[in-house]
Amino acid sequence: MDVILFLAFAAIAVVCAVNVVVQTHPISSALSLIGVMGSLAVLYLLLGAEFIAMAQVIVYAGAIMVLFVFVIMLLNAGAESRRGRSLTAQLLGIPGFFALLVLLSYTVLRLFPDAAHVKFGGFTGGSAKDVGKLLFTEYLLPFELTSVLILIAIVGAVVLARKELE
């Protein structure tokens, strides 16, 4: 059962990811990115990280991507132009991409050859309570720092995006 679920959503994630890269129009790549995030959320659930899954959906899909969609809609820039695609980049890029992929997987396999098998109920530690407890005890300082970071981001965004008051 898990395998099927994993394969399904992994496939969705990969397809959407490729779509993100390949699509010319940003909106379509944005939506496919949302698709990736959704499938990832499900994979998190498979890995027992309930809180993170929900957070992923709320924060990533629900908030960040909305920003993206908003910006794309506002700018309405339209599809990327086809020209300027240098052949060499592609010739160099694609094998390079696969080389990178092989390199990554090699390191992963080398580091974790006998990783444990993932079963749905295998690890139930990811509930909101556990995450919350740890977050506010051991990781309190980073938590506060990130809140400050968010504040800065907000102020930054406001200042940057504000239309000049003529």
Partner: protein, 613 residues
């Protein structure tokens, strides 16, 4: 307490007075101060010697410690023994005579007070040299005398040749001093002190090899000072100075310093046979070599200069052969007749208003008779004619040489013959034959002719002073048989020399030039002093100068060190330029660099592996 210090201090006082106030004092006052100080010093010498009596052992007076470092103590101590006595008499005696002569000679020359100030300074240093009780004081005198010779040779400082000669004299002396100072260093290492009293008695117990090295270094110093073989080149040029200077310094006193120093350190040489042998060889070599050059010189002072070098060679031969007293005896007699020769030449030049070339002289016998007769005395003395001074001292040396090594005797005799020849040549060219050149000579004033007369007397009677017996306690006499035959041969050689010269220059004047042309190359070689000066110049001075300019100053300083500093700066700039390329402003190139970096990290992790299992 004989107040030995007064002897050197009096000329020093004369120097200071003339030096500081000479410009404002009248000429008479300057003469008075200069002559007074030297004559007083001579008187004081006589008084002390009379006061000290037999002087079997050295009489030392210690004044103050010059400097002391750890166990090495150098004191300002003066000492007199029989050897010093002889030297004192010669220096102050001949010195005062020459001072008197100089008054006449220098009357109408510029810088009158300056000349006498330097002369007094010279007397001071010479006396310090002679009286010094340790090597260092001797060295002080040694260098001081070198300084004065520099000043006096370069007296006519407007002439570049004079100042060059002065500089050359000083530097060659300095090379000699280099050897002397190294010897002193070695003495301190081996003996622990510089005082004669401490060094010479202990000489016997020291290893032969060290003593030889000390002896050789001392010899190097002596050669520098007494113009022996390798370092004689400065003496002929020293003739640039005024004649009294040549007489005093380059005939009577300074050049003899080397002989005195070797004699003084006889104890070292006696225990270092190799060194003593070397002294003999150098002496003999210089004698022969200088004599040959003397044959072909046309300048009257150059002839006498080379004769001095040759006579000094004789003295060194005497010392080398072990007859120290004979050497000193020759020194004394040589002082008399060589001073006379130079002063005579001086009066000749004075008479001919500065003409020094023999070929422009002639027939002066009748015009300046006093000078002629006084010079004649010197002539016969130097040629070694029996009753006179030269004969006694030269034969003593020849006998000692024969006793030491027979072949040396024969070379010595040959040199004697040559000496007789060139002196006679000079006399004949100057005084006999018709007057050449356009001068109308006039006799020198009495103030000049008087010292000449005294010296003439001394060179005639000098032989009977019997200095060797006087120095007997210091230097044991070598009891060589007084072989009459040898003496006869040397006398015959002398007479042969005179005869030959007469043949060449009086009987058949043309003959000399004919022989010169016949010899051709050999003659020019000898005439040009075997090109020794040019050789030295090319071999030493030129390379050192260009080498240090190009290689050292430009090459090392500017190139190497400054270059390295600037090099570092340029490297920094180059790397900066290289790094700048990365900041190309194109975002995608930044991206590629970022990815490239991450790949590197990944590869590192992949290879290194590890990490939490």
């Amino acid at each position: 307490m004989q107040h030995l210090w007064l002897i050197p201090v009096l000329p020093l006082l004369g120097f200071l007075l003339n030096g500081l106030f000479g410009r404002r004092l009248a000429k008479g006052a300057v003469t008075a101060i200069a002559l007074g100080s030297v004559l007083l010093s001579f008187a004081w010498v006589v008084k002390t010697l009379v006061g000290l009596g037999a002087l079997e052992t050295a009489y030392i007076e210690r004044y103050f410690t010059w400097f002391q470092s750890g166990d090495l103590r150098v004191g300002a101590d003066l000492s007199v023994d029989r050897l010093t006595a002889v030297m004192l008499l010669v220096v102050t005696g001949v010195g005062s005579l020459i001072h008197i002569y100089a008054v006449g000679y220098m009357t109408h020359e510029g810088g009158y007070y300056r000349f006498f100030a330097y002369l007094n300074l010279f007397m001071f240093f010479m006396l310090v040299l002679v009286l010094g009780a340790n090597f260092l004081l001797l060295f002080v005198g040694w260098e001081g005398v070198g300084l004065c010779s520099y000043l006096l040779i370069g007296f006519y400082f407007l002439k570049k040749s004079a100042t060059d000669a002065g500089k050359k004299a000083f530097i060659v002396n300095r090379i000699g001093d280099f050897g002397f100072s190294l010897a002193m260093l070695l003495i301190v290492i081996t003996f622990g002190s510089l005082d004669f009293g401490a060094v010479f008695p202990a000489a016997a117990s020291k290893p032969e090899s060290t003593l030889t090295l000390i002896g050789l270094l001392l010899l190097l110093g002596a050669c520098g000072k007494s113009a022996q073989a390798p370092l004689y080149v400065w003496l002929p040029d020293a003739m640039e100075g005024p004649t009294p200077v040549s007489a005093l310094i380059h005939a009577a006193t300074m050049v003899t310093a080397g002989v005195y120093m070797v004699a003084r350190s006889s104890a070292i040489y006696l225990h270092a046979h190799a060194a003593q042998e070397m002294v003999a060889y150098i002496g003999l070599g210089t004698a022969v070599f200088a004599a040959t050059i003397g044959l072909a010189q046309n300048d009257i002072k150059k002839v006498f200069a080379y004769s001095t070098v040759s006579q000094l060679g004789y003295m060194f031969l005497g010392l080398g052969a072990g007859a120290f007293s004979a050497g000193i005896f020759h020194l004394v007699t040589h002082a008399f007749f060589k001073a006379l020769l130079f002063l005579g030449a001086g009066s000749v030049i004075h008479a001919l208003e500065g003409e020094q070339d023999l070929r422009h002289m002639g027939g002066l016998r009748t015009r300046i008779p006093v000078t002629f007769w006084t010079l004649a005395c010197a002539w016969v003395a130097i040629a070694g004619i029996p009753p006179f001074a030269g004969f006694h001292s030269k034969d003593a040396i020849l006998l000692a040489a024969h006793h030491h090594a027979p072949w040396m005797y024969w070379v010595g005799v040959l040199t004697a013959a040559m000496t007789a020849f060139y002196v006679s040549r000079a006399m004949f060219l100057a005084f006999f034959g018709e007057p050449r050149g356009h001068h109308h000579p006039h006799e020198s004033p009495p103030v000049m002719t008087a010292p000449l007369a005294v010296l003439a007397l001394l060179s005639l009677a000098g032989g009977f002073l019997d200095v060797p017996k006087f120095l007997e306690p210091l230097f044991p006499l070598s009891e060589g048989a007084h072989d009459f035959a040898l003496v006869a041969i040397s006398v015959v050689a002398g007479l042969a020399g005179i005869g030959l010269a007469a043949l060449f220059y009086v009987v058949k004047p043309g003959l000399a030039d004919a022989v010169a042309n016949a010899l051709g190359g050999l003659y020019t070689l000898v005439y040009n002093k075997y090109f020794v000066d040019e050789l030295y110049d090319a071999a030493v001075v030129r390379p050192v100068e260009t080498g240090s300019r190009e290689a050292l100053w430009k090459g090392v300083d500017a190139g190497l060190i400054d270059g390295a500093a600037n090099g570092v700066a340029s490297i920094a700039r180059a790397t900066g330029g290289l790094l700048r390329l990365i900041q190309s402003g194109n975002i995608r190139s930044y991206a590629t660099w970022v990815v490239f970096g991450s790949i590197l990290v990944l590869v590192a992790i992949g290879l290194v592996g590890g990490g939490a299992r």
